[in-house]
Symmetry: C2
Subunit: 118 residues, 2 copies
DNA sequence: CAGCATATACCGATCATCGGCATATACGGC
DNA sequence: GCCGTATATGCCGATGATCGGTATATGCTG
């Protein structure tokens, strides 16, 4: 299971999954709930999206299995960020901040006649 | 050409196209260059991506044709943000800031044993 | 005249996400 | 006892934005 070489742009659900695992390891279902809480219910990850994302992030080396527990005869597989995942998430947050700040700046200079924009 | 009702999550190239048009109207090719400059060459929009995005954003009512010019016998079609587009971009920037801040906050509380996270 | 920049536009392929379904167990209400 | 919901993982087909390439022109430069 070699890590993929592509540095494809990260979509929102994937970013939120990494965010959910940033502070502490969590199992899949807990991630779904956490993402819903984080986004005030706006993003409700489908099971298909979540487990596909976990597999992909794992094969990319951004997360790894932390441990497995059985609670009430149900399996809980906990995932945690790897060092690489931590760096990637930090890079993503920096990028988001930069782009958001730039967009805000441009929105402010909007409709200012005869004014050049950077 | 009815505006689509879906409020689908916005991807990075689309966000950057809106950002490019936020301050002043620009034609397609200028948007490609602007996005490349904004992202320090990281994002180089393909023609297919750009014009498809412009069509989609137009049918969604987020942008509209500003004017057309012919320079050196080549057509330049300028697009501008609509009021709806401006609101949407502002909402997107707010969302990006919130998510980036949240992710940073979680990265900071990382690996702090026995500590609950919000 | 070959190559590159400008400028718009179409096309098939890729792939993350969506939406739904399957499989189990536990719990609460009726 | 049964139904619906919550918990928990997983598979599968469809969707759609993006990618990569090509087409079509013109102008400029080497």
């Amino acid at each position: 299971m070699l890590p993929r070489m592509t540095e494809a742009p990260m979509r929102e659900p994937t970013f939120l999954v990494l965010t959910a695992l940033a502070a502490t390891p969590q199992h899949g279902y807990a991630v779904i709930e956490d993402v819903a809480r984080m986004t005030d219910g706006r993003v409700r990850l489908r099971a298909g999206t979540l487990y596909a994302a976990l597999d992909r992030l794992r094969s990319d080396g951004l997360i790894e299995v932390d441990r497995e527990e059985v609670v009430q005869s149900r399996l809980r597989r906990y995932y945690r960020l790897t060092g690489v995942g931590e760096q990637r998430l930090a890079a993503e947050t920096a990028r988001l901040h930069r782009q958001a700040t730039l967009a805000e700046s441009r929105l402010r200079t909007r409709r200012t006649p005869g004014e050049a924009f950077s």
